[in-house]
């Protein structure tokens, strides 16, 4: 369960004041797939950063499993991210000079898992994205789609509760993009991980249970697919969100 309560984030001061998020509130059930849809500069990335504790909004609360991560100390937030969250980025951010193994191993090293445990999990994650045979290859020798699959392996290796994907298919052609989408949605179904996709692509957003449209830092609309079991909380939050 993720609750976002009246989050406001501003940049700059006085005349240059820019409101990236303006009193945003909603909540998401665990295990659902969520699309944060908006144009460039709408504040969708800022919202993702706030929800993952990377950014600190000036006001509001972000409550994950009953804990307000904005009230936590930096050390605790870092630990939260290391153990319960993971990320996929538009430009992959895989380490080109490192092997696939070392790329995927990084989150586990940060979470201080033993080398033995790491080996088991890394192998499993790479196999899940069908890169089992590339375990020793340098990441720079992979194709774009393979790189993003590597990024997916890195994102799922620590078995996160929440997986953030920032334009995961933005740099890929439609075929490879679909492969990545399938991987992500498949993982969501299989493991019940909450999947939060930030995108400007309405087609991708349409595949998600919940679609949150952002415009100028405000929630424009929230679509809740009725036939899904895990769905957004009813009217009250929605009303708040559409101020």
């Amino acid at each position: 369960m993720i609750e976002v309560k009246s989050v406001t984030k501003t940049y700059g001061k006085k005349q240059n004041l820019f409101t990236a998020l303006d009193n945003v509130s909603f909540s998401i059930e665990s295990g659902s797939t969520v699309a944060i849809l908006g144009k460039s500069g709408s504040g969708k990335s800022t919202l993702m950063h706030a929800m993952s504790g990377l950014d600190r909004p000036q006001t509001g609360e972000i409550i994950i499993d009953g804990e307000n991560i904005l009230a936590l100390k930096q050390k605790a937030v870092d630990k939260f991210r290391a153990t319960k969250m993971s990320f996929i980025f538009q430009s992959f951010f895989v380490q080109a000079n490192e092997s696939c193994y070392d790329n995927v191993s990084l989150p586990l090293e940060i979470a201080q898992l033993s080398a033995k445990e790491r080996k088991i999990r890394v192998t499993k994650a790479l196999e899940a994205v069908e890169l089992g045979d590339k375990i020793k290859s340098k990441a720079k020798n992979l194709s774009g789609g393979q790189k993003q699959r590597l990024a997916v392996a890195r994102a799922i290796v620590n078995e996160p509760q929440i997986l953030f994907a920032d334009e995961p298919t933005g740099n890929l052609d439609s075929t490879t993009g679909e492969t990545i989408e399938d991987l992500l949605f498949g993982y969501n179904k299989k493991n019940g991980t909450t999947l939060i996709i930030v995108t400007h692509d309405p087609e991708l957003a349409a595949k998600c249970d919940i679609e949150i449209r952002i415009k100028d830092g405000k929630i424009e609309s929230i679509r809740d697919t009725p036939n899904k079991t895990a769905a957004i909380k009813p009217a009250k939050t929605r009303a708040k969100g559409t101020v």
């Binding site: 950063h49 993952s52 990377l54 950014d55 930096q74 050390k75 870092d78 630990k79 939260f80 991210r81 290391a82 153990t83 969250m85 993971s86 990320f87 980025f89 538009q90 430009s91 951010f93 380490q95 000079n97 490192e98 070392d102 990084l106 989150p107 090293e109 940060i110 979470a111 201080q112």
Partner: protein, 459 residues
């Protein structure tokens, strides 16, 4: 993140930028090279000096003088207008110094903490002849110092602390070489046992008119010229041994050595009636039995003398060594200082280059502290690499060059001026790693403070 994983990742990052890593560490290597050599040279010199002093000088030995200025203490040496002192003599450079007189010698001999008290006799002979040659030679003569070991090339020398016999003379090997060259003897060995006769002159006294008249009437003009030349005496010795010129022997190699008894006789004969009669520049002595030379030195100081112990001599040599070592080490430190800026620069560039990587690591929950550690460990690796390359090269080069250096400065077989010891070098490498870590502090802090959102912005 646990330390081992950070160290591994740091090492890997460096391997991915091999050229840059190597070049940066080479800057440290220059400093490490210089410092290693200075450490090795210092150690080598100290061991050599130790060996020199330890094998040549009785640790109980003291050199005692009246004039403290000789050891550079107790005020300035006097020149110019000064009070007349009947005991004052002059050094070779014309500086007045206080000498010891017979009273001093007797007082020192009477002390119960000294033994083997020997004044340094100032000996001069007019000429000498050697059995088998009618040529006349001249040479410096000194009293045999039983506290300093000499090595013999031919014949035998007494044990340390024992005087040579009164009828013996020790000849430097180089004199023997000349005599062999001049075909006085067939070989150096033949010299041992040969007679050597020294002619010494008693200084002439101003004869009275009556004396001149008397000699003129009894011996004629030849008697008169003999009187003007002064009285002479011949002393005959037997060559007991040839002293060897050695790199680890301190004994002066260019003077004939005779027993101290003979030396006293000759010195008194040649100074009779002059101001220098029974005046001595200094005295060699041994601290008696278990008495510590330093204690004796302090006691002598109270009694108005100045003394120098074997340890003082060592200290003097060590001071010189330390100064020289300090100068070399100073250059090493300068090189290191330059390399520190190299590390800072390299690490700053590395942080800029890896902005995205740092951002990703922080997004994945890596703590700022760990990011800083990653960069600090990279710096430490650079320091380690530089230290190992530098000191390794110095070690290798020093070991290879040691025989050549030893030969060039004729240090003597088995002595090395560069002595490499693992412990100081290990400490040096660790210190260099520390220096590198300190140099990497600011870049590491920059990395730690990097905002992951900024770092991950894609445009």
């Amino acid at each position: 993140m646990i330390t081992r994983d950070i160290v591994r990742r740091a090492g890997r990052s460096l391997r991915q930028a091999k050229a840059r890593t190597l070049l940066t560490s080479l800057a440290i290597a220059v400093g490490a090279f210089t410092l290693t050599l200075s450490i090795a040279a210092g150690e080598g010199s100290r061991q050599y000096a130790d060996k020199l002093i330890g094998s040549n000088i009785n640790p109980q030995a003291l050199f005692i003088v009246k004039d403290k200025t000789l050891f550079g203490e107790g005020g300035q040496q006097q020149s110019g207008l000064r009070e007349y002192d009947p005991d004052a003599g002059t050094t070779g450079t014309g500086v007045a110094i206080k000498q010891l007189n017979q009273g001093d010698i007797d007082a020192l001999r009477a002390r119960n903490d000294l033994e083997n008290v020997q004044p340094t006799y100032q000996l001069s002979i007019r000429s000498l002849t050697i059995e088998g040659s009618d040529k006349q030679y001249t040479a410096d003569v000194s009293a045999y110092d039983s506290t300093v070991r000499s090595e013999s090339a031919e014949g035998s020398l007494p044990e340390l602390g024992t005087q040579i016999a009164d009828d013996q003379v020790i000849m430097p090997e180089q004199f023997a070489d000349i005599l062999v060259e001049q075909k006085v003897v067939g070989s150096k060995a033949e010299l041992v046992g040969k007679k050597l006769t020294m002619t010494v002159v008693k200084p002439s006294t101003q004869p009275t008119e009556a004396e001149i008249n008397q000699i003129l009437t009894t011996e004629g003009t030849s008697g008169l010229s003999k009187l003007a030349q002064g009285e002479t005496k011949e002393v005959t010795f037997i060559v007991g041994a040839l002293s060897k010129q050695s790199s680890t022997a301190l004994a002066a190699g260019s003077a004939l050595q005779i027993s101290s008894n003979q030396a006293r006789e000759i010195a008194e004969y040649t100074t009779q009636g002059t101001d220098n009669y029974q005046k001595y520049l200094g005295v060699t002595a041994l601290a008696k039995g278990d008495a510590l030379p330093d204690d004796v030195k302090a006691a002598l100081d109270k009694a108005g003398y100045a003394a120098q112990t074997a340890k003082d001599l060592q200290t003097v040599i060590f001071t010189v060594v330390n100064i020289l070592q300090g100068i070399v080490a100073g250059f090493g430190v300068l090189a290191l200082l330059a390399s520190v800026f190299g590390i800072i620069n390299t690490q700053y560039i590395s942080v800029l280059e890896r902005t995205q990587q740092i951002g990703l690591m922080k997004a994945l929950g890596m703590r700022g502290r760990d990011v800083a550690r990653l960069f600090r460990y990279e710096a430490a690796w650079i320091g380690f690499l530089g230290g190992v390359i530098g000191s390794g090269t110095a070690w290798l080069l020093g070991t290879l060059l040691n025989p050549w250096i030893t030969e060039t400065i004729s240090l003597g077989e088995g002595n090395s001026i560069l002595i490499f010891q693992p412990l100081p070098i290990a400490i040096l490498v660790v210190a260099l790693m520390l220096v590198a870590v300190i140099a990497g502090y600011f870049p590491a802090r920059k990395a730690a403070k990097l905002d992951p959102i900024e770092a991950l912005r894609t445009e």
